[in-house]
């Protein structure tokens, strides 16, 4: 049994210690907002926050997250997150939408750490988040808009 703290709630799960957090969320806890894209930490679709740090849940064994505060797209809160989600909606960033949970988790962490990110900052922080629809132009604009919103 592994005890996890997800979105402020304690959840006990009976899974093998090496089962990645991604599959615990999706298959055991039915929290499907966090997506499976590559399974190898190459696309960022599975990004969650572990103690506030954007982390690829597909490569994080559940047992390794036992003492951490885990935040998923379902539980994301606060000024930065709200600003990001609002900017995403205002600019109609999404196309297929499958990568966007991960993009939003990455962008929220970026803005929380860097209130005024440049294009280069965005590229550096989010290069690991793939969007096959290539919504990158709008994501960059949305991150900047969200940063402005979060500062005010």
């Amino acid at each position: 049994m592994i005890r996890l703290n997800i979105n402020g709630q304690v959840r006990d799960v009976d899974v093998p210690a090496d089962m990645p957090l991604l599959w615990v969320l999706r298959d055991e806890l039915n929290m499907t907002g966090t997506k499976f894209g590559c399974g190898q930490a190459l696309c960022g679709a599975c990004t969650v926050h572990v103690d506030g740090v954007p982390t690829r849940s597909c490569q994080l064994p559940a047992s390794a997250a036992a003492d951490a505060k885990i935040t998923t797209i379902e539980g994301i809160q606060g000024k930065a997150a709200q600003a990001v989600q609002k900017a995403w909606a205002d600019l109609d960033v999404v196309q297929c939408g499958y990568c966007q949970s991960g993009q939003i988790m990455a962008a929220t962490a970026l803005i929380a750490e860097n209130p005024n990110p440049s294009d280069a900052d965005i590229e550096a922080a989010m290069d690991g988040n793939v969007c096959r629809c290539a919504t990158y132009v709008r994501i960059k604009a949305a991150v900047k808009q969200a940063a402005t919103l979060a500062r005010t």
């Binding site: 298959d27 190898q40 196309q95 939408g97 590229e123 290069d127 096959r132 990158y136 960059k140």
Partner: protein
């Protein structure tokens, strides 16, 4: 399952018959709960046919349903096309809302059930999405449905208020009668409206009256649910008792299972069953992780006797051998050989294009439950419902009407989810059937991993183009000769009869067999190469390679003629005003002819152009690139002009052109699926590298103001993007690029 190939072939053959040329009609029916439901069918005939909009003829008895007005005044449009990111749920809902004079806030979208009798794509004759046909094919019926629903609501209000219907107005979801001062929302009139006869004809709006169509401020219907994790994809479906399956497929295309040692797999806690099937070995487990672990523990011996054992280098060498001989004739105008022989200058070029995976962000997957009546119920990002119902019915020995498909949001497709054989959905139901036969009947979720996807075939084919053109002393083209060698993904499927004529697969020659540039002598032919490697349409189909070969080559001809690349093209497009229109617009907006701002010391900059028609949409790209001091290329900006007729949803159109441009450039930069001894070399996003942030140029989209019938935008943003970049690289003093991807030339 011995007859599986026959089932698959027959299924597609049945459904590709062109829609009957019936006259158009409207049909309304009363729905449950006092809702008004209304639908219309306007067959457009065979693919590419473009009849003028009309509304005549007798009503059809089928209860065809597109619009529901609920008592709470919400209006739901039943969308028969899969939304895989292209925004079609938003686009089609906009069309209905416009004619209904609804308020955008009251509009909802819902995927229609699978039923080709009600929801056929009139370009295909069956329910399915593809070929950028959705807006084009729904334009008439959804406007009529919206207008008919409006008329019925007005009639209901007129009866209730005892006023003439002609005095009633509707605006932003409010029905009003000025004289009496009465007004109200749709909901209270929905039940009464549903009981009224469907109008025999309706008057549709003129473009000048539109307030929602063409309105850039409308948000996508999915703009919230896809930013908070609540949008449901097939990957997220969880049915009671659901089990997860992964399938071990042969590493070599065309191989089959010889023997399986599954002891270690079965020993894993949570592995429920291992099934050796004609399609591979399925591991069924209580969750995805365990299924994947179980598959890793399998020890399978494959029979490679019928498998592809060549590498892609050898396959391309074989293509070059084939290209030495004349192929099946696609186009023969004039005497091209003689014209080129007599030319002042002859230019030759050969272009090669690799296999490419679609790699949608959501890996292929579907959930199926076998039902008590011998049928099945699917949850899937279903793109070819018409084929999938028939294939699943064939597998289960039942009829297509017993196959229910719940279509859900799809995490991308780019062509991958639409196959002539139902592919992953067939796999899912085969596994569910085999599991049930073991006494373990359960809802089955088949999940492809990313490695399954990258290695799993259905690629954009490997393609070779050989071109030769003659110029006269003034630089005019006197003859154009083009030979294409590629596999056909139509051959051997139910689509073969439609797509292949006299040895020419028109999905491989589109864009050049009908060359827009005016040349007096034109010869296009092709060879269909054979391989067990499976191939498929890939976002913009034949145009993915024909546009590149054509636009890179014409650029080279312009340079050889000493002419400006835009002026040269314009001179050859006198008969194509819409191509000229986008070319001029893109060139103008990009500042063509004015010098580019210089880059940092040691860098070189250049601007390149491409113009192409695909799926009846016209697009021109102007790309700006920088060649850095180390010789590496950065695409800085792309200016795109698009003419897709009436712009239903400009915001969505721009998004599709931005994304299509990124798609075209991303794959041209560094993507290829290669084989060594028949085994795919790539496995995941480290070796099949997607376009990432740093690669994405700024994209500026300009839409031509048009009153023409709207056409699709999901694909047309792709074809011109890569050749515009290649031409820009050449303009900057870089090498012309003949072999894709560009990384082969060491510039990426």
């Amino acid at each position: 399952m011995k007859n599986l190939p026959q089932i698959l072939r027959a299924a597609a053959a049945d459904v590709v018959e062109a829609a009957p040329s019936r006259r158009s009609f409207l049909k309304g029916a009363a729905g449950a709960g006092g809702a008004l439901v209304i639908g219309a069918v306007v067959p457009l005939g065979a693919m590419a046919a473009r009849p003028a909009p009309s509304l005549v003829g007798p009503p059809d008895p089928r209860p065809n349903v597109f619009v529901r007005v609920a008592p709470d005044s919400s209006v739901t449009v039943l969308v028969k096309h899969l939304d895989k990111g292209q925004g079609i749920m938003t686009g089609l809902t906009t069309i209905v809302a416009e004619e209904l004079d609804a308020d955008w806030a009251q509009m909802r979208g819902e995927f229609a059930p699978a039923d080709s009798k009600l929801y056929a794509n009139h370009a295909f004759g069956m329910q399915g999405t593809g070929g950028s046909t959705a807006v084009f094919n729904s334009w008439d019926e959804l406007r009529m449905a919206g207008a008919a629903a409006r008329a019925m609501l007005v009639d209901a209000a007129a009866a209730e208020w005892k006023v003439p219907a002609s005095e009633i107005t509707v605006a932003k979801g409010v029905i009003s009668h000025a004289k009496s001062g009465k007004s109200g929302p749709f909901g209270p009139f929905a039940a009464a409206a549903a009981k009224l006869p469907v109008p025999a004809s309706v008057k549709l709006k003129d473009k000048a009256q539109y307030s929602l169509i063409g309105n850039e401020t409308l948000h996508r219907l999915d703009h919230i649910s896809k930013t908070n994790g609540t949008a449901i994809f097939a990957m997220d479906i969880r049915r009671p008792g659901q089990v997860t399956a992964v399938l071990a497929r042969a590493p070599r295309f065309g191989a089959t299972v010889k023997s399986v040692d599954d002891k270690a797999a079965r020993a894993i806690h949570g592995v429920l069953e291992v099934l050796s099937l004609p399609i591979g070995v399925a591991v069924v487990a209580k969750n995805t992780w365990t299924a994947i672990k179980g598959r890793e523990a399998l020890n399978i011996t494959w029979d490679d006797s019928q498998a592809e054992k060549r590498g892609t280098d050898q396959m391309l060498a074989d293509y070059r051998e084939l290209a030495k001989k004349p192929g099946a004739v696609a186009t023969a105008k004039g005497d091209t050989a003689a014209a080129i022989k007599g030319a002042a200058k002859v230019i030759e070029a050969e272009y090669s294009f690799p296999y490419l995976a679609h790699a949608p962000m959501e890996p292929l997957n579907a959930v199926v439950e076998l039902t008590e009546d011998g049928g099945a119920e699917f949850w899937a990002g279903s793109q070819f419902q018409g084929v999938e119902q028939r294939v699943a019915a064939g597998i289960l020995g039942t009829t297509p009407d017993k196959i229910k498909i719940n279509t859900v949001w799809a995490g991308g497709s780019f062509g991958r989810r639409a196959t002539p054989t139902a592919d992953y959905m067939a796999e899912t139901v085969i596994i569910a059937k085999a599991l049930a036969a073991k006494g373990k009947k359960a809802p089955v979720h088949l999940v492809w991993t990313r490695e399954d996807d990258i290695k799993g075939g259905r690629y954009r084919p490997l393609v070779l183009h050989k071109l030769r053109a003659g110029l006269d002393a003034k630089g005019n083209i006197v003859g154009w000769e083009q030979r294409i060698v590629t596999q056909s993904f139509m051959a051997g499927t139910g689509f073969e009869a439609v797509a292949i004529k006299n040895g020419v697969d028109n999905s491989a020659t589109e864009g050049v067999a009908d060359l827009a540039y005016k040349v007096p002598n034109l010869a296009v032919d092709m060879h269909i190469a054979k391989s067990p490697v499976t191939t498929l349409w890939w976002r913009s189909v034949g145009h993915t390679h024909t546009a590149y070969a054509k636009e890179a080559f014409i650029d080279e001809l312009a340079a050889a003629a000493g002419k400006d690349a835009v002026a040269y093209r314009l001179g050859l497009l006198e008969e194509h005003p819409r191509l000229r229109g986008v070319l001029k617009l893109a060139a103008d907006k990009a500042g063509w002819g004015k010098p580019l701002a210089a880059g940092p010391a040691g860098t070189k900059r250049g601007r390149g152009v491409a113009v192409h028609e695909s799926f009846s949409t016209y697009v021109a790209h102007v790309a700006e690139v920088t060649i850095k001091a180390d010789g590496k290329v950065k695409v800085d900006r792309v200016v795109v002009a698009v003419d897709c007729g009436i712009a239903v949803n400009p915001n969505v159109i721009k998004a599709q052109i931005e994304g299509g441009t990124g798609w075209g450039i991303g794959h041209a930069l560094r993507d290829a699926i290669t084989l060594t001894d028949g085994i795919v070399d790539q496995a995941n996003f480290d070796t099949f590298e997607p376009l990432r942030y740093a690669d994405m140029p700024a994209v500026e989209v300009h839409i031509v103001d048009s009153a023409e019938r709207p056409t699709g935008v999901g694909e047309p943003g792709v074809p011109g993007a890569a050749p515009a970049v290649a031409n820009a690289i050449a303009a900057a003093g870089g090498k012309r690029l003949y072999d894709l991807p560009f990384s082969k030339a060491g510039i990426v």
